[in-house]
Symmetry: C2
Subunit: 210 residues, 2 copies
């Protein structure tokens, strides 16, 4: 069967635990690759080029844009962030399923370029859980908490164009579900028509009496 890598976008409300889910996914199963973003922002203490980010100058980044070498990009707080096409395609060619954590607007751009992309949205089990995570450790002002909550409401705009949701309730089970959801996509009929046709023609040879 066809084991070419699948492109997976994971989105979801802030504070829902996407990062932890994806970290565990790659640690537990060997064939996933997290996409590494390119950015023009300054590296922080301890960040390594090619590990946390591909660090680029503004000129370099704009060249990437001009040469269509980013799957998607956005400007945020005066810095560019984007997903390098080469890295993603190399990993997929090597049979790795590539997981991208981006918000919905970026995800829909990716889906336009790669229609087979799997779009997943991570949900909290209930609103209280999300609110208490956004509330953090009690050090934030009520204003900060309310603006986080208001932003969370907006973060689901466009979710009806996604393929699946995952409820992040029991972390261990959520990672397994995430894995099985992605794994299932390898069994889509339209990814495996060649395999099916091959078996049929081999059976045809047997039927004609070897």
């Amino acid at each position: 069967m066809n084991r070419k890598g699948i492109l997976v976008v994971v989105s979801g409300f802030s504070g829902v635990g996407k990062g932890t889910l994806m970290k565990l996914l790659t640690e537990r199963y060997g064939h996933y690759a997290l996409s590494i973003s390119a950015t023009t922002r300054t590296p922080r203490e301890g960040e390594v080029d090619g590990r946390e980010y591909f660090f680029k100058s503004r000129d370099e980044f704009e060249t990437l844009i001009a040469e269509d070498r980013l799957i998607e990009y956005a400007e945020y707080c005066g810095n560019y962030y984007g997903t390098p096409r080469d890295y993603v395609e190399d990993q997929m060619e090597q049979g790795r399923d590539v997981v991208l954590e981006i918000e919905i607007q970026g995800a829909l751009k990716v889906k336009q370029k790669y229609p087979e992309t799997l779009l997943l949205f991570v949900m909290p089990p209930d609103a209280e859980t999300l609110a208490s995570r956004l509330r953090g450790r009690g050090s934030e002002t009520e204003d900060v908490i309310h603006s986080r909550l208001a932003r969370a409401v907006q973060e689901a705009e466009g979710v009806e164009q996604y393929d699946y949701m995952i409820i992040n309730d029991v972390l261990d089970e959520s990672v397994e579900k995430l894995h099985y959801l992605i794994e299932s996509q390898h069994y889509k009929i339209n990814r495996n028509l060649d395999f099916i046709e091959q078996i049929r023609s081999e059976v045809r040879v047997f039927a004609k009496g070897e």
Copy 2:
């Protein structure tokens, strides 16, 4: 989330092990129901009405057809076989995922009536495995074997309209894969838009400052 039952059709080459797969699936996980067909054929020794089949007279069966109480039906060797709508819908209402084993032409009729039906096709790992299973225990004539193989080639006509395939290689793993494939469908976004909207509006209340 939405746990209403899903309708699943399992098809595949004769001899590929569909029956065993489905038996293990229902034994291992509690929430599956195998659909029971209605038929006009005479019960065999030991067959119980409502267990192997719903046994019907020709008149009764034709009334079922006339009243649109069958999801699909076909005539085969002078007898009717069909899938009763009531049984399937009752099971789904109770939250059971209903599994139907029928061939592709029937499956496509089911999909027309229930567009959310999941269509699965079971594949052998390779042609040799299928051929040796169809060859049976060596008691059949070469003619019988060749006609079985020729029929197998036809049995995949229309498979490109299916959703997923499953390779029945290691039985234990195939059952698990089958389960996860079906389970994944409960997480489809379009089945869960109400749940997502509910969480969003609850978060909205929190954002407005409880």
